[in-house]
Amino acid sequence: MSADQHDRRLEEVAAFALGALDAAQIEDFREHLAGCKRCQDELNWLAPAVRALPEAVEQQSPPPELKVRLMEEVRADVAAAAEQTRAAERRERASSRKGFREWLGGLDIGGLTWKPLAGMAAVILIVAAGVGYLVGNGDGTNVHTTEVPQPNGIVAEVINEDGKGELRLTGVEQLPKGKVLEAWVARGEAVEPVEMLFTPDEEGNATTQIEDLEGVDAVMVTREPTGGTKVPTTEPFVEVPLES
């Protein structure tokens, strides 16, 4: 890289630190940053200024009800986790381990049965096998994409990049106030919430990140109250079986 080209890179450090690089440039810049000591030093120098920016904001007092709602949800989580533990213990005692297909056919989580999805899941498994594809992206990582049509015109796509995932939905209806989308990952019989809640944009596109797709048999999505829940409270309207 010539000195001029590098100086242009250096100019982009501030934009990167501010999260203002254009989407198409981010990956490219990250790759450059990983191998460029001068840009790393510049970022080291500027990063504290970016982290200081929130401190410059005029302070507002959050309404007390916000804390009340938050703590209600936290305590509900604790109660749900305790219930999950008890349920797991009951299942262990029953010692009848279900396979994934059987699980899809009759999983009971907190009183919620997903039987209606069993038939659809079988169809989806076949469809998914036809549209999954694996590509190398040139930097040594592998990207596997599974695209699965869903009921009601929704298309779900799970992109697996070396174990980290992104779920992209299109054709999603707008949510009523107080509702968010929450994704779930199933590993065997265990169903866990995905950390990042998400909402559709005006065009019905919705995207969330899945930290870890290792060993995941299926990705599902439900509509949940703002803040999400620890266990699904509605039936999933999206279901993407994955090849483990």
């Binding site: 999260g19 936290v74 986790a81």
Partner: protein, 177 residues
């Protein structure tokens, strides 16, 4: 934050009391709407409650980690509302947070008596530098979007961002001296 791994609601309440106000202020600054800021804080803090065990102390302070989560949520909400695609990812925050100067940074911020001195540093910036920084950080706009909005060349936006951040950084360093 071992208390999160232990799922201790009382410890979480203390955590909220310490950082909830700063988080709410930041969300309100970005979203400009109290109800939206409340939703943002509820989502951000619940995500911390559920995933806080992933916090890596070597990467920086709890406060900067918390505020970066709030900022990402708020910008996502802003972009979602305006139909713009999400851009900044958690990975980028991880890169920022993993800078080795983090520990020093926290001291610098505290020594600068945080809000007052940083506001002073921002207010001393030429308005064109302050504007691009605020549009990027609090508005979630990319440098190209900002160039279009201000009708200036992209290179000008890059230069203003860099100069502005360097001045703030210089003020922080002076506050330490």
């Amino acid at each position: 934050m071992p208390w999160i791994a232990k799922k201790d609601p009382e410890a979480f309440e203390v955590f909220y009391d310490r950082h909830g106000g700063a988080g709410y202020s930041l969300a309100y600054r970005i979203l400009g709407d109290r109800s939206a800021a409340e939703d943002c804080i509820q989502e951000a803090f619940i995500s911390i409650w559920r995933s806080g065990a992933r916090f890596d102390r070597t990467r920086g302070s709890v406060r900067s980690w918390t505020l970066s989560i709030v900022r990402n949520r708020a910008i996502d909400a802003l972009r979602s509302k305006s139909g713009r695609a999400p851009k900044l990812t958690f990975d980028d925050d991880a890169i920022l947070e993993s800078r080795p100067a983090d520990e020093q940074t926290e001291k610098e911020v505290l020594a600068a008596e945080t809000a007052v001195e940083i506001r002073g540093a921002l207010s001393q910036l030429p308005s064109e530098q302050s504007k691009v920084i605020q549009l990027a950080y609090f508005g979630g706009f990319s440098q190209s979007e900002i160039a279009g909005m201000l009708n200036v060349p992209l290179g000008t936006v890059k230069g203003r961002m860099r100069l502005g951040l360097e001045k703030i950084r210089g003020e922080l360093a002076e506050g330490m001296a």
